[in-house]
Symmetry: C3
Subunit: 351 residues, 3 copies
């Protein structure tokens, strides 16, 4: 299904230069786009590709347009943020090509009579919805999801197959949850008594704001007494663990395999790199960026980027450097001894 550029610009804004009736059927990078597609330039280093691309149209910034706009054969959309414009254009095409979601409850679903499912919602086969759960308008709960007692799921949210939401958790509107996600399992809370562990019942909930996305097989535990909170606009990648009583500030993005330990508090507009680990009970202010593979052991009170991982090397070189790291104290002692000797020599020399 193809679209005229003017429809795109009417919907998404931007300044159109060239033929507004140009038809485009999809979006692709500069090097791959065909003559029926639109492309985008979001990084000046790709400017030289603009003259060569086959694309029928291009999205680019005013700064890039001033340099390479004239070299380009097709229509241009000048946008303040070409990468965000690309994302929205891709959404525009995806929406056009999407198979419509059919409202209704599949006969192989098990919905408790005490649950409330909006008439416009889609409930797939083998979904289980327990007593007191509320599923919002146009929500889409795919095959095999299990929605516990009293759970609330906001309108237009989408749960892909085999998601589990434990009792009493609340999920906002337009939330996307990928397969294998577990929301609201018990936090890891035990009291030690003579070496054995006594379970502390986890009676808090998980509260998830609007416009959150949660990647496949990520887990978010319910709070111990208070709640675990994920604010609006947070984006979580796959296989992330968020422990009980964490609080993740709005619009923070966390990459895959990261772990956030219990009661950690992460600010708004932060980013946490892949496999980074945030210690329990620490606070990270807004606008902090923790690099991949980094363990944040203490609170971070100043915005900025923080890093800590061992540099990779050829195995033999690593062995040497690791042995020296273990023996840094020995190295320091040698420096101290040298300082002492040099001081004595200097004093003698000056006598």
């Amino acid at each position: 299904m193809s679209t005229r550029l003017k429809e795109l610009v009417e919907s998404l804004g931007g300044q159109l230069i060239g033929d507004a009736d140009t038809q485009v059927s999809g979006i692709a990078p500069l090097s791959d786009a065909t003559a029926s597609q639109i492309t985008f330039l979001s990084n000046p280093k790709f400017r030289p590709q603009v003259a060569q691309t086959q694309a029928a149209a291009i999205i680019l910034s005013a700064a890039d347009d001033a340099v390479v706009g004239a070299d380009y054969h097709g229509a241009r959309i000048v946008a303040a943020n070409p990468y965000a414009y690309f994302a929205k254009a891709a959404q525009f095409f995806a929406a056009r090509n999407a198979i419509p979601v059919v409202p209704g409850i599949h006969p192989a679903a098990t919905v408790d009579p005490g649950a409330h499912v909006a008439a416009s919602a889609h409930i797939g086969p083998n979904v289980v919805i327990e007593d007191g759960a509320v599923i919002g308008e146009k929500a889409r709960i795919e095959a095999g999801c299990v929605i516990g007692r009293g759970v609330k799921i906001g309108s237009d949210s989408c749960l892909y197959p085999n998601v589990t939401v434990y009792a009493a958790c609340e999920i906002g509107a337009r939330v996307i949850i990928h397969s294998g996600v577990v929301i609201g399992a018990d936090g890891f809370g035990f009291a030690n008594e003579g070496g054995t562990w006594v379970k502390i019942p986890q009676t808090g909930r998980v509260l998830i704001g609007d416009d959150v996305e949660i990647g496949a097989n990520t887990t978010i535990d319910r709070g111990a007494l208070a709640d675990t909170v994920i604010e609006e606009g947070v984006k979580l990648d796959n296989q992330i663990q968020i422990a009980h009583n964490c609080h993740i500030g709005a619009h923070t993005a966390i990459a895959a395999c990261a772990g956030i330990a219990g009661s950690a508090r992460i600010g708004k507009y932060c980013s946490i790199g892949g496999a980074a680990m945030i210690h329990g009970h620490i606070t990270i202010v807004d606008h902090v960026h923790v690099s991949a593979g980094t363990l944040a052991l203490r609170s971070i009170s100043e915005p900025g980027q923080y890093t800590g991982f061992y540099p990779i090397a050829k195995h033999g070189d690593w062995e040497k450097s690791a042995a020296l790291v273990r023996n840094l104290n020995g190295m320091r002692e040698k420096i101290r001894a040298l300082e002492k000797s040099v001081k004595q020599l200097t004093e003698k020399d000056n006598e």
Copy 2:
């Protein structure tokens, strides 16, 4: 539903000071408790909050009671281990508020005629129980779980939705398994033949003792020839990987995102921090504590705490220190050269 303090003390022990008819309906921290709740003091640093708390009653140690007991307006329960007492009191309230589990097999479950399910067990919708499986008294198998051939699940165990247990694995009594857990998938075993991999069938089982808890999306692989063993009382957090032929000693606790490689043997009463990684084929004795983010490459034969992760820093500082770590050998060479020069100077000086 509220409870008199005397009922609590009859059930859990402790020395009651004050009005035994005081009614409490739940438990909360010192700062949050309302006048209808009981609270607890498990850390002396919170003593100053005791005089201010709204709570109708407090659990505390004899030592704390001697200092702050007199300042407190309500009833006191003096306990040897106030934190463990809190956990048990919370269990007491949770049990009172729990929705009773209904025995029986949901009509949307698929139970093989060759399986044995105790009459008091609860089998949820879309559960699949294969031939020869045995489900114990009052066990609770929630929606979407798949229980393979010949699996044994002990009495009072609870499997939350969407757990998978492969054939022949055995799970003890009072075990709690959270959603997304996979027990008994094949271990990662291959023989290399000219660059390609030949699969080694994994014919061992997973054996899980009594009173184990397993967090969401954790995976425990079956043994190659022998079994993978998780002893009684072990507590596993979310997203942990336990490889084939591991042996985890009783009452060991492992935090989220940790990985235990094949044939590793971890002792009793150990703790493994979040995202720690235990190498294959190593042995760790009882009472070892491995810190978060630490890779244990060799066996540990002495109790104690072990740590190894790169300290976090501002990104620019990390870049400098990482460059120096790579070049530690250069630093050592410089120290050696200095030592030589200083020795020569000293010898000359003494001539």
Copy 3:
């Protein structure tokens, strides 16, 4: 069910020395094998056990046979690669003991009329197969799996329970996918616009070659515009994350808990250790081995083994070495000052 050695050798090759009618019913290590089993010697360090083993037969190399063959009481199979021979013999016994898979679609499965399922395939209870999906001959899709629109699954592939495959992904022949795996969830792609995130629709697919194995709870994201590709013979352990647009070369093995960030390209015949993390957009050539717990930040253009993790130590020793690592720059400054002083002293001395 027992087998004569001559059947084994007819099927798997190797040179048989001794009684070809020797019956064996299974395979076990040297120390555990009973008189009705066959054993194997794949590492010369176990040669001393050969004379003692109870096993009725042994698989070993010509080199080992020359040394210990004469000491052994039973029949011997001399093989070029005894460990690979063991793997194949174990497969031989496993196939004999396997419960046959019954072809057909379970009545509790939900198969769209627009899907094509081979008559010899097995579709378990609560499986959902959507419109346009194609399931190959003798494929086995176990309980609770969800197969999206247009997915292709090759012949003889096996999906264990509760696997999710998103729309349009393609899986080759003889692929094994363990429980909890999610194939084709959206990659983590967002454009930032004024601090909030705009989702980039993920319209690529996941393409998985023949003879791949994927461990429990591993996730492989679909590509953003192009596809994510896992070539033939790749072996993935549990809880691995493979991000959008990655390309994993044939016969590469990746251990548990590893993470491969977006658009990373890993060569053929590589191995990636447990919990290793591969940065996005980097290229690793064939025959590279990345050690466990290592973060590969830059492309690797030379075969070999690469390592980078902080050495573990007693906690107090680690604290000292970590403090020194943070202060390496101070140490370098001291060395420079010493070099300067020593130079001055030496010059004075030579005056």
